[in-house]
């Protein structure tokens, strides 16, 4: 039970090589193909949002299960725990947006001639935007840090007070997160189309975050099992992760469709503009998004046997992760990139750079302690879990 992940020099070197290679290619593509600053900043925002979503989704996963006193996920909890350590880095990366404000958000340099943007000025102005950004990240970092600290205390002490403390912080995190995930998605994504609004947008982004981080946790389980760790994580645990991925993919589709149908039915010009730009210029991607995030997990994970094979579940999870990248792309790029929007070498390489940094931070955090929380009251239940 004292098994510890060994972040070997070999793994570090592989990550470093991939990172520097794709960074070089990304830089080269910026200088050679002259894609323009707005597309570069849209890429930064896209990847910030995707990887921030992975860590927030992981924190949400932990908080929900702890509040519900669920036992089965206890052997896995160090993986999402490690994913939340990316939040401080995400904070710094999000602050970088300050230099790209004028390339991304057209409300940032409004001259007062646009009546709609003038009306939203109380919320959409640069000082308040960054005040909110700091508040969001302070809350997220503090609550996840406290949860991690209590977990770390449970490694050495078997005092139940640490478990109770963790539950309290989970509850506080959930309340704070439920509000801030909505408002942050209005700030960072919805205000790209400053005229447009959708009341469902926050929940849509929240579920996208949760599904993509479930997919990442599954991939992490698969990777660690492949490297010879996590022997005690059996098909039963993978089964439950697959069930969550399956049902929350359906729930994501439900929200996607609810948002689409109401706007389609209502047919109000300020609402339909969002879908018109996406359907006119990116028709293929628009339907690929729906197919990859709904049809693939739905039919790929519908039978019991398919949910119990780690390799297959990881394969579906990888596709879903790509699907949610496309989902974020469709939210951000058509609005921010303008007529230069597209998927090219830059997009792929930037995402690989971010992914390498993210994986590096997660694996380094995993290597700092045992892979299970030894004195967790639910550990025994989780080890003997049958789904």
């Amino acid at each position: 039970m004292d098994e510890q992940f060994n972040f070997k020099k070999k793994y570090r070197n592989i990550l470093l090589i991939v990172l520097s290679a794709s960074l070089l290619v990304a830089l080269a593509s910026i200088f050679i193909s002259r894609l323009g600053a707005s597309r570069l900043w849209a890429n930064v925002l896209l990847n910030n949002q995707l990887f921030l979503g992975l860590s927030l989704g992981a924190a949400f996963f932990l908080a929900v299960h702890r509040i519900a006193l669920s036992g089965w996920q206890t052997v896995l909890q160090r993986l999402p725990d490690a994913m939340t350590t990316f939040l401080p880095v995400a904070f710094i990366l999000m602050l970088l947006i300050y230099f790209g404000m004028h390339h991304l958000y057209n409300w940032a340099d409004s001259d007062g001639s646009d009546k709609v943007i003038e009306g939203k000025k109380a919320w959409l102005n640069i000082p308040f935007f960054f005040t909110r950004l700091v508040i969001y990240f302070t809350g997220w970092i503090v609550f996840t840090r406290m949860m991690r600290k209590s977990s770390a205390a449970l490694m050495t002490s078997s005092d139940i007070k640490y478990d109770n403390r963790r539950k309290i912080f989970s509850g506080l995190f959930l309340v704070f997160y439920a509000i801030t995930v909505s408002t942050s998605s209005w700030d960072w994504i919805m205000s790209l189309d400053a005229h447009w609004y959708s009341t469902l947008f926050g929940w849509y982004v929240l579920i996208g975050m949760f599904v993509s981080s479930l997919a990442f946790i599954i991939l992490l389980i698969w990777l660690l099992k492949h490297l010879g760790y996590l022997k005690y994580v059996r098909s039963d645990h993978v089964h439950d992760m697959a069930i969550l991925l399956f049902c929350f993919s359906i729930f994501w589709t439900y929200l996607w469709f609810s948002q689409y149908e109401l706007i389609w039915y209502g047919h109000l010009p300020e609402e339909t503009s969002y879908y018109i730009t996406r359907l006119k210029d990116f028709k293929v991607l628009f339907f690929v998004n729906l197919g990859i995030n709904f049809i693939v997990p739905f039919f790929g994970l519908i039978t019991v046997n398919s949910k119990r094979q780690p390799g297959w579940v990881a394969f579906i999870a990888a596709i879903v992760l790509i699907g949610h990248w496309i989902d974020y792309w469709l939210m951000i790029m058509p609005a921010a990139g303008g007529d230069k929007a597209g998927i090219g070498v830059l997009e792929i390489c930037m995402t690989i750079v971010y992914a390498c940094v993210f994986i590096f931070i997660v694996l380094r955090s995993l290597s700092t302690g045992p892979l299970v929380v030894k004195n967790d009251p639910f550990l025994e239940e989780s080890l003997n879990y049958e789904s």
């Binding site: 469709f257 689409y260 149908e261 389609w264 039915y265 047919h267 519908i302 019991v304 049958e386």
Partner: protein, 169 residues
């Protein structure tokens, strides 16, 4: 004594029940049924009962429901009775989705209930006479098939000698 073709073994806990099921199967006794007040983990494997095929029924009827509902709406609004609603085209697929979804769920749910009732031969006037009233409360019971009640009783008793049973009869 009424001539019976089975023997019932009573337990008050699930652990000896599982042990007994394994032992009886090892000694080639035929278990007709096991009654328990709550689902016992591992009992299905111990009895080597195959997984229920009810989900397959649900999937097939759900698919039928989806096709029927979508097809019917498409037929009504394009062929049978075209109406302009809200300036939308006649074939307005997004508008059909909520009803398609509901009919899918309805078909899947009802078909699974019906399949379960048919497969377990439950119908309104069925009568069930319990071997012992306690099996409807807190007792675990194994029913073993017995062509000749007396010899089987002796055999079962010797097989289960080390296991904590309440009663064997």
């Amino acid at each position: 004594m009424r001539n019976r073709n089975y023997i019932s073994i009573f337990f008050d806990d699930e652990v000896p029940l599982l042990q007994a099921v394994r032992k009886l199967r090892e000694s080639n006794e035929i278990i007709t049924d096991v009654l328990s007040p709550f689902p016992v983990h591992g009992l299905d494997e111990a009895l080597s009962i195959k997984r229920s095929r009810i989900p397959v029924v649900g999937f097939i009827f759900g698919a039928i429901g989806a096709i029927l509902a979508f097809g019917f709406q498409a037929w009504v609004f394009t062929v049978s009775y075209p109406l302009i609603i809200g300036g939308k085209p006649f074939f307005a697929a997004p508008a059909f989705i909520p009803i398609t979804f509901e009919v899918t769920v309805l078909f899947a749910g009802l078909s699974m209930v019906a399949a379960m009732l048919i497969r377990s031969k439950l119908k309104p006037d069925i009568r069930f006479v319990p071997v012992d009233k306690r099996i409807t409360d807190d007792r675990f019971v194994i029913l073993v098939e017995a062509a000749d009640a007396k010899t089987t009783l002796m055999r079962v008793k010797s097989v289960l000698s080390g296991i904590q049973t309440i009663e064997i009869r």
